[in-house]
């Protein structure tokens, strides 16, 4: 079996995978990072969003071997020393989650948006979330949380 090495949340990791092993499977099964979820099989729902080399991607539509040598970050890497990342904190403050299943993908997707656009409008946030489906919240508080986080992060 091929071997793959990458950095996940700042830690170097190596594992044996098959050609067909998806990045999300590698994260969940090999590394026990179960915060990244699988919500669909056609790449629409976004529950599996992680960052590869700083960009948000769907880890269910990426092979583990495609991430060879890459810097991968997942929801587990967002908080530092037990302190929530401002986006996580804003989701909590603004009730941007209910069942929590889509939440890791939402947070990772939002983090990519805010590194590209420090002050997104409501419309820009809503459009950005095109690839993240939430069935619980009606999105309203997710949008509010992301906008609040953007203000917080701008300082």
């Amino acid at each position: 079996m091929p071997s793959v090495s990458m950095t996940v949340n700042g830690k170097a990791v190596t594992g044996e995978v098959e050609g067909r092993t998806l990045l999300v499977e590698f994260l969940r099964q090999n590394l026990n990072l179960t915060g990244t979820h699988v919500g669909c099989d056609t790449s629409q729902c976004g529950a599996c969003v992680v960052h590869v080399n700083g960009k948000s991607v769907k880890s269910c539509t990426t092979l583990a071997l495609q991430a060879e040598g890459a810097e991968v970050s997942t929801i587990e890497g967002m908080a530092t020393n037990g302190d929530l990342h401002p986006i996580q904190a804003a989701f909590k403050e603004h009730h941007g989650l209910q069942c929590g299943f889509c939440t890791p993908g939402m947070v990772m997707s939002a983090a990519d948006l805010l590194q590209q656009n420090q002050d997104p409008s409501e419309t820009e946030v809503r459009e950005w979330l095109e690839g993240n489906i939430c069935r619980c919240t009606g999105y309203q508080n997710i949008v509010k949380a992301i906008q609040a986080a953007s203000q917080e992060m701008k300082g």
Binding site: H37, C40, E76, G100, F101, N132, R135, C136, G138
Partner: protein
Amino acid sequence: MAESGIGASVRRKEDNRFLTGKGRYTDDINRHGQAYAYFLLSPHARAKINGIDTSAAKQAPGVVGVFTAADLAADGVGGPICGWVVTQKNGEPHKSPAVSALASDRINFAGEQVAVVVAETLTQAKDAAELIEVDYDVQQAVTKMKDSLSSSAPQLHDDVPGNLCFDWEIGDKAATDAAFANAHHVTKIDILNNRLIPNAMETRAAIGDYDSGTETMTLYTTSQNPHVARLVLAAFMGLGPENKLRVVAPDVGGGFGSKIYVYRDEIVTLWAAKKLDRPVKWVADRSAAFLTDAHGRDHDTHAELAVDKDGTFLGLRVSTLANVGAHNQIFSTATPSYLYGCLLAGQYKTPAVYGEVKTVFTNTAPVDAYRGAGRPEATFVVERLVDKTARELGMDATDLRRKNFIPKDQFPYQSPCLVQYDSGDFNLLLDRAKEVIDYDGFAARRQESAARGKLRGLGLSCWIEACGLAPSAVVGALGGGVGQWESANIKFNPTGSVTVFTGSHSHGQGHETVYAQIVSDQLGVPFDSVEVVHGDTAVVPFGMGTYGSRSGPVGGGAIYKAAQKIIEKGRKVAAHLLEASAEDLEYADGTYTVAGTDRTKTLAEVAFAAYVPHNYPLDEVEPGLDETAFFDPANFTFPSGAYFAEVEVDPDTGHVTIMNMIGIDDVGTVMNPMIVHGQLHGGFAQGIGQALYEQCVYDENGQLITGSLMDYCMPRADNFPMFTTEETNQPCPHNPLGVKGCGEAGAIGSPVAMLNAVVDAIGTDIDMPATPEKVWRALQSRAQAAE
């Protein structure tokens, strides 16, 4: 209001784990040595199974077991059951065909589970499933209700003649006929309530685990009601005894009704774990979820409203066909009967109402309770019909409603449809809704849209629902198979922290927070010292679970009651510690005070003494501070609301843009406004999804052609504007917290407000979902008709 007590927007306890990826959903759990199950699903909607050859699959690499219906039958394992007997017009019970745990000799819907492969890895299980040869004798399927009822239709079940599950009625037919005979005007409408697919973001999953040493089984599963699952598995599926079966519903990623039922895959996974004596894990992929989860709605209704000259409602007549799909499930008979028919009077004092419902088996996935369950369908019928009546009479839609509202001073109000509404103030709701939407400014907004070539519409719904599914006596009298109370157990620990066990189950609703608020409020302990535990039959005494917006009114009521028991027990202990009589103690904010003195003991001190009874009147009071309560309220609760939707239609494309959506709700006491508004937003999104986007489509052969997220349109963030939600609450008089429930409200009131807005914009009736092509075609037809 305390900062963390009832009424405060306390931030959620559960959020930290969800936000950091530490939530623990079923698929996140792995048992040592687990194998993986994969189900072979029928590609046909209707077929006879002549034989299943699993020999090649059994020989495939990694396979540890391949099982079919015969294996389950040999062990006496049963299939899904119906939990509610509906008595038909003719006095007979509804037809409930037996269902096996895997399809045995007949297929009745595409996606029906035919066989299971258990293997060392999931890919090996999938590979082996391709080697199973099923000899199907494929037959013509029937997916439309009217076709299924026709005399030439194929028969789905041998013991269900004419594919009719039940023919049921509610209300007074003679009185209603008389009302119509004297009517000045009769409005008629034909309505389809579109079939929906729940699509909780976490798909269903299960892990079966068997301990041969103790002969106990554990099922980890995505359930909204683990105790009910255990009860049903033990009592009907032969997977008991109940005390040797533990069901754990860990973090669950949304339910919306679809995770109430005990499904075949869960039964089989649990059984296989015992059979193979090793843990077995199964997780539905989204494609399987589309095919096998219980769907929602799917009604075809003709309704008529008789009115007097001045718009006074005289009588309402409703005739509905409801699709049950291939076979019954737990609530599939209750949903289109009592949960639907009981709400047909709406907010109005219509004196005579008669409804009849025929439920029909078809070659489609089972249909069961989905967020709102019956009540969105009832609201849709009533509020479309009232809106159409206003148009036909040339009356303002709000004036006509107001004229017919049940006045505030007539509560409790006995509806002609069995139920007694507890409280409400419909004028207040509508007044406020009109203010918030700026009703009077609509004409100007419509003109402004017209100037840009767009069609603007405003739609209203004034709705009422029955929820807080409870009174066991009523539910039992109507045919329900179980009690509908809820339980709570509060353990006041010796060191002052509190653990609360609830039979209710959170899959997004925030129980861990709201229940802690109740306990903190009642027992005067810090919010952070209260931990709420749910979802595990091994630790929670019992429970009926979460559905029908019952967690607040019923589950919360049980917790309140248990807290009172703690206070009363503590009073005895405090009396001993304070050397006073229990009757002389006053209790407030977690502290007992001897009346008229400054002598006090806190509950924490009392608890410590109760667990360390060194000097303790054991003949008067037992040690410990641990109380359990079961709460069974006297009635359902009746939330109500007034919702407005405002839309703009692009006549060139038929595209509908939502300009505004507001809701004024009466959900009784609000325990956590932040969470209540979150529930309402989510309900709006699902309701609007039904009105504009979502549609489950089977082709004429019973193939599900909206079988993925590429064709079944789940609403996204960019479909919506910011919603406005407010409450004007009338507390519920028959539960201790005054709570009515809010989980379903948004999904009940919003679809019809949205559709009424589209109808208002385009000036002609249209079915849900109002997709661009449908709207465009409606506009074309209207233009042609005008020529």
